[in-house]
């Protein structure tokens, strides 16, 4: 810390950034604004947040509050200039605080341990004295061995009258662990900044068989990839008969300058990487382009004549042995009924495929309705004829998150440093020990003093052990 308050403007700024109070204020402001960011959903359509705000503040003021928050950048706040500025202020405070305290810590780290007067040992946080019989050289030998066994490299200094003092320290560098942790935060922030300046986050939807040379930041902003990517195939696997996907995979091929350079099957948790761009499996669906979808239907009349047919949307077919014609009018990959009984498609995935067929006989409409692949009871027509909805082969598309982030390795590196820094900070300590051996009348008086900047109790245990070893020294104990 500064001994006197700085007088120049720069000194004042420095002192402000170096103060814990300032750091705490920045901490608090980041935390509080972040809370707002978790309540107001980020980067979504305005209606969603107006609903939330209406619940919190009432209908009359909600739109106004929305507008104010919108102008302040709260709808995409983690990327707003002021939030980035807060993070930078936080980083500066961290740097300046660290530099400000560094000399003191370095002194503690570099200053070698030296012998201290025996009276001072009694004032240490960990202390122990014992009187034993024996010869100083023997006791010294035992103490040295025990200290070495505990990982210390003891030095020796004479204290007069034939006495001596052994002293040692270890883990002095552990005081720097906290700096490692602080540096790691800066490294991670740097990696994050690099990623957001030089990288991109995009999305790409590819039908099976389709090729693309761009990804999309948003529907109107394509980003060139520098190569082409083709989706050869897409499959989704479910748990038993449920809607719940077990796994979905895309077979991808990377094409550069007209040549296939890479093939890989991606799935969730296993992306494809090429030239710094990563493709993550994130969603899937059935293409809305239903022109190419093929139905597999087994049509049978009530007297048992049956045929398997493969019509497409808008095709017509006849029930064998009758003059009834079916007309496939609609298809939905996932059909549900709303409370009023109206049908709607609830997902783009093949969760509950259904088709709407209209039946006519001799030009007059007989009946019509939805046929669900999963519900056989919907297959039977009122007159006993039957249309089994066996399958639908549609073009499926794969949805991929596309990312380029040159900063990600820096972030990972920062994470490793952070783990290391935390380990050193919390699980290692700077331990110092002095063992004073002096003649006292006929006996030998051993005084042990020790200190540890962390986890004192564990070190105390070690000192107890050392005292026991010395007490049971070569000449027996007292």
């Amino acid at each position: 810390m500064k001994k006197e308050k700085g007088s120049t403007f720069i000194d004042k700024i420095w002192d402000m950034f170096a103060s814990v109070k300032f750091a705490v204020i920045i901490f608090a402001v980041i935390a509080l604004t972040s809370i707002v960011g978790t309540i107001v959903e980020q980067q979504v359509e305005p209606e969603k947040n107006i609903v939330v705000l209406t619940k919190l503040f009432g209908e009359s003021v909600a739109p106004d509050i929305y507008n104010i928050l919108f102008k302040l950048g709260f709808m995409n706040m983690y990327h707003s200039w002021w939030f980035v500025a807060l993070l930078l202020l936080f980083a500066s405070s961290l740097i300046i605080c660290s530099i400000d305290r560094l000399p003191r810590i370095l002194k503690l780290v570099n200053e070698p341990i030296h012998p201290i007067p025996v009276e001072h040992l009694g004032k240490m946080t960990i202390k122990k004295t014992l009187d034993i019989r024996g010869k100083i050289p023997d006791i010294k030998q035992t103490a040295e061995t025990a200290l070495k066994a505990a990982g210390f490299k003891p030095s020796e200094a004479p204290t007069g009258n034939g006495g001596l003092q052994l002293y040692a320290e270890k883990g002095n560098l552990s005081r720097l662990g906290v700096y490692l942790t602080h540096i790691s935060i800066l490294v991670i922030l740097t990696g994050g900044m690099i990623g957001s300046f030089f990288g991109f986050n995009g999305y790409l939807q590819l039908n099976e068989g389709e090729t693309s040379s761009v990804a999309y930041k948003d529907p109107t902003t394509p980003i060139p990839l520098g190569f082409e990517i083709r989706c050869d195939n897409f499959e989704v696997y479910f748990y038993g008969d449920s809607d719940m996907p077990k796994d979905y995979k895309s077979w991808l091929t990377v094409i550069k300058n007209g040549k296939e350079v890479m093939k890989k099957t991606i799935e969730v948790n296993d992306p494809l990487k090429y030239e710094g761009i990563t493709f993550y499996q994130s969603s899937y669906g059935t293409g809305m382009d239903t022109d190419s979808g093929i139905f597999v239907l087994r049509v049978s009349s009530k007297d048992g004549k049956s045929a398997e047919i493969n019509p497409m949307l808008n095709d017509k077919f006849t029930i064998p042995g009758t003059s009834i014609t079916g007309h496939i009018k609609y298809f939905s990959p996932a059909l549900a009924l709303d409370p009023e009984g109206r049908a709607y498609t609830y997902a783009q995935q093949m969760l509950n495929p259904a088709t709407y067929i209209e039946f006519t006989e001799a030009g007059t409409q007989k009946y019509s309705g939805w046929f669900f692949r999963r519900y056989p009871n919907t297959w039977i027509l009122p007159d006993g004829n039957k249309v089994e909805f066996v399958n639908y082969w549609g073009v499926e598309y794969t949805g991929m998150q596309v990312r380029k982030d040159p900063g990600v390795f820096i972030v990972y590196f920062g994470c490793i440093i952070m783990a290391l820094g935390l380990y050193i900070t919390f699980f290692m300590s700077h331990r110092r020990i002095w063992v004073d051996i002096a003649r006292k009348n006929d006996n030998i008086k051993i005084s042990i003093g020790a200190s540890a900047n962390k986890n004192r109790a564990a070190f105390e245990g070690k000192i107890e052990k050392l005292a026991r070893i010395l007490g049971a020294g070569p000449e027996g104990k007292k």
Binding site: V20, T38, N201, N269, T425
Partner: protein
């Protein structure tokens, strides 16, 4: 026997041990204490068996790697694991410090979590894993997060006890702070108990039912009278705790628990929990998110709230190590930190939307 039998057994044992620990605190009878510990250990052992059985059941069902079948995939399983960690840490402390009086402060947290499982009617079925959860990071990330949460829960209990011991006057901030915290805790437990008594027959549903059942027997009751009465009773309880809080102090003092030990224990739990949380919760979480979603940090509510929690505990450690805060001030930060943990863990899933919706 299947996992649910063991879970049932452990629930009963934990509830009994909580009651006995509280009796032990009140009557200072050693035999009661021993029985309380016995129940706590029984509960812990049967819960261990339950988790192991469930792991096996999940493994048999899921056709996947053994490590990936860790039963840590939804809110129910994570709460169970949290309780398990909490009791483990607690039992270690009880044996190490040879003092049972923490029990009366820790077991209610476990029982609160169990009560919450019961009344929220959350799904206990073994559900197959959605693709995003099929990763080896699941075990490391979730396990370490919950070990940290359990340590933070202990620091909350010891911090609260430390505040009880250190406060003298009824008008000091720290006294008002702890009586208020304890009241909120007691009232929540009570309200959940009422929900449980009233709705236990209809508990069948899913996690959405949390919205429909939580506090419906009291604060959120359809009848305005019941709701008003609940608030009145809450205020009365808060007042009583505030008025007679000092008697708790006498009880704790009777156990020769010094504020220094409690302060030290709070610090140690946080100093262990913080690095575990940073590594397992934040760093492993980020690495996993990077692999699954293509972004290591998206400012998702869960991520943001864990960062806020991390800030609070970082503040605790800095205030202690740099400014030398001890006792009351530090304990208040520790108690406050655990509120952030609860919100990160439960509040985010209940109240906010985001990618991280498994628990």
């Amino acid at each position: 026997m299947d996992s649910s039998t063991f879970f049932g057994l452990s629930t009963v044992a934990y509830v009994l041990s909580m009651i006995l620990y509280i009796f032990y605190l009140a009557f200072r009878n050693n035999q009661i204490g021993i029985i309380a510990t016995t129940f706590a250990i029984t509960g812990f052992l049967s819960q261990t068996l339950a988790i192991a059985t469930r792991w096996k059941e999940f493994y048999d069902l899921g056709q996947m790697g053994f490590l990936r079948a860790a039963p840590l995939t939804n809110l129910y399983e994570s709460l169970i694991f949290f309780i398990w960690c909490l009791m483990l840490v607690y039992l270690i402390i009880e044996f190490k410090y040879r003092n049972r009086s923490f029990g009366a402060f820790v077991t209610p947290v476990a029982v609160l979590a169990l009560a919450y499982i019961d009344i929220s009617g959350m799904s206990r079925n073994i559900q197959p894993l959605v693709p995003a959860l099929q990763s080896n990071w699941l075990l490391a990330h979730v396990m370490m997060s919950f070990i940290a949460y359990a340590l933070f829960a202990i620091s909350f209990s010891t911090g609260l006890m430390c505040l009880i011991l250190r406060t003298e006057r009824r008008n000091e901030t720290a006294y008002i702070f702890w009586t208020l915290m304890l009241s909120v805790f007691v009232i929540t437990l009570g309200a959940m108990g009422l929900d449980f008594l009233k709705f236990k027959l209809v508990v069948t549903g899913q996690e959405e039912l949390i919205h429909n059942y939580l506090f419906k027997a009291s604060f959120r009751s359809g009848s305005a009278l019941v709701s008003a009465l609940s608030w009145a009773i809450s205020i009365a309880v808060t007042f009583l705790i505030w008025r007679f809080g000092h008697s708790l102090k006498k009880i704790i003092e009777g156990f020769h628990l010094s504020a220094e030990i409690l302060d030290d224990l709070t610090y140690r739990c946080i100093a262990t929990g913080f690095p575990v949380f940073t590594l397992g919760g934040l760093i492993f979480g980020a690495i996993w998110a990077d692999q699954a979603w293509g972004k290591y940090w998206t400012w998702d509510p869960k991520e943001t709230w864990s960062l806020i929690t991390w800030f609070i505990y970082a503040f605790y450690l800095h205030s202690r190590l740099i400014k030398g805060w001890k006792g009351k001030k530090a304990a208040m930060v520790a108690v406050f930190g655990f509120l952030a943990v609860i919100f990160t863990y439960l509040g985010v899933n209940l109240l906010l939307s985001g990618l991280h919706s498994y628990g």
